[in-house]
Amino acid sequence: MEYEFHWNIVFQNMPELLNGAFVTLHVSVLAMLLGIVIAILLAIVKMNNSKPFCYVATTWVEIARNTPALFQIYMAYFGLGALGIHLSPYVAVLSALVFINAGYLTETFRGGFQSIPSTQYSASKSLGMTSLQLYRYIILPQMLRRIYHPMTNQFVWSILMSSLGILVGMSELSGTTQRLQSSSFRTLEFFMVAAVMYFIITKLVLLGSSLISRKLFKGEIG
């Protein structure tokens, strides 16, 4: 084994790496929040079947789900660039992630909503509940339980996929790692640390998610 590990340079640049991790986190959080909002709208449109909006929604969802994430990032960065719309790497990656999240989450929300048996509706109505009460106390809480796990997975996915920012020069964790290693030639050390950082971030997110779910759902559905 010929390779000599030099960790010092990596640790010297920790602040920058942490900054990159921070960018990763906030682009992912934003991508989730915006994605959720749009997905709610798209889901409602799809379930109400109101043409022509339904076609738009379906097209959005199917393009988001059937093309690679990297392709969508390139479309946002290079594709729009060709049309004269020059997005910064950050905005391009964010837009692509929002687009994809909206696509996947629409189906998640739709599935969660439609999986609630119709007997829940009849039972509540026969107890005299108004539609608002029905949705607030019966439907939405049950929906939340069904979509919680997929949503967590989508968030983790966003975090991992943000690493594609490296290819369009974005300064999230991977991009920062790339920049630092190319000037110091310590590729292996830097990327190993980056891998560990992603692992820790992912684990923390999953931990946080399960803690929140325990608080919210008080251990009903595993």
Partner: protein, 216 residues
């Protein structure tokens, strides 16, 4: 702005190489990932907690680090150790392991979904343990997870685009090069997008159809 320029013969050949490479590495990763995932998923479904936890930990790592980082890390690592591999081999290894991580979850849940009582009935008929696995648990479990398996397979096809970072000339990378040559980003990108879409959409629709049929 020229929207559509006809591609030269060379360029078309170039794109076709990209398509071939994408298909090749996807197929390799799907096949290896499925085989390995079957074995690991089966072992996790039938084993003790200790074995389960060990595998679980390893698979966890594969699913918690971005694919791009895994690819770069692996290729740098083997280069530093003095045994560099060509991009196809290195990419296949990582992509297959990545696929295996997800496939093993799919298969594990499939196996676990076969009720123990079905196995008990089979054993009461005199079948040996392995006969019950082969004739009952495997067929029923695998049928149940077909839609999920298809979902992972389609993801792999899309994720294959990432192997370009270690130098593998798959479709998206070749299209990139074409763009810099012809300065037609939109046309080429859209063409590439259509290609992925044509592969993915019919298959995922079929998967949803099967899923619907299975739940009625």
């Amino acid at each position: 702005m020229n929207f559509i320029t006809p591609l030269s013969w060379d360029d078309t050949g170039f794109i076709l190489t990209g398509i071939m490479n994408t298909v090749t590495i996807s197929v390799v990763a799907i096949v290896l990932g499925t085989l390995l995932g079957l074995i690991v998923g089966f072992m996790r479904a039938e084993s003790s907690r200790v074995v389960n936890a060990l595998f679980g930990g390893l698979l966890d790592i594969l699913r918690s680090v971005p694919l791009i980082i895994q690819l770069v890390l692996f290729s740098t690592f083997i280069g530093a150790m003095g045994h560099p591999l060509n991009p196809f081999v290195a990419g296949s290894i990582i992509l297959s392991l990545y696929t295996m991580a997800f496939m093993s979850e799919v298969f594990r849940s499939g196996f676990e979904s076969v009720h123990q009582s079905m196995m008990t009935s089979a054993r009461s008929l005199g079948m040996t343990y392995w006969q019950t696995i082969f004739y009952i648990r495997l067929p029923i479990g695998l049928r149940a997870v077909f839609p999920s398996w298809l979902g992972v397979a389609l993801s792999v096809i899309k994720d294959s685009a990432l192997v370009s970072v270690i130098g593998y000339m798959e479709l998206l990378r070749t299209s990139e090069q074409l763009i810099s040559r012809t300065q037609q980003p939109l046309m080429i990108l859209i063409g590439v997008g259509i290609f992925y879409f044509i592969i993915s959409y019919p298959l995922s629709s079929y998967g949803r159809y099967v899923e619907r049929k299975m739940t009625t």
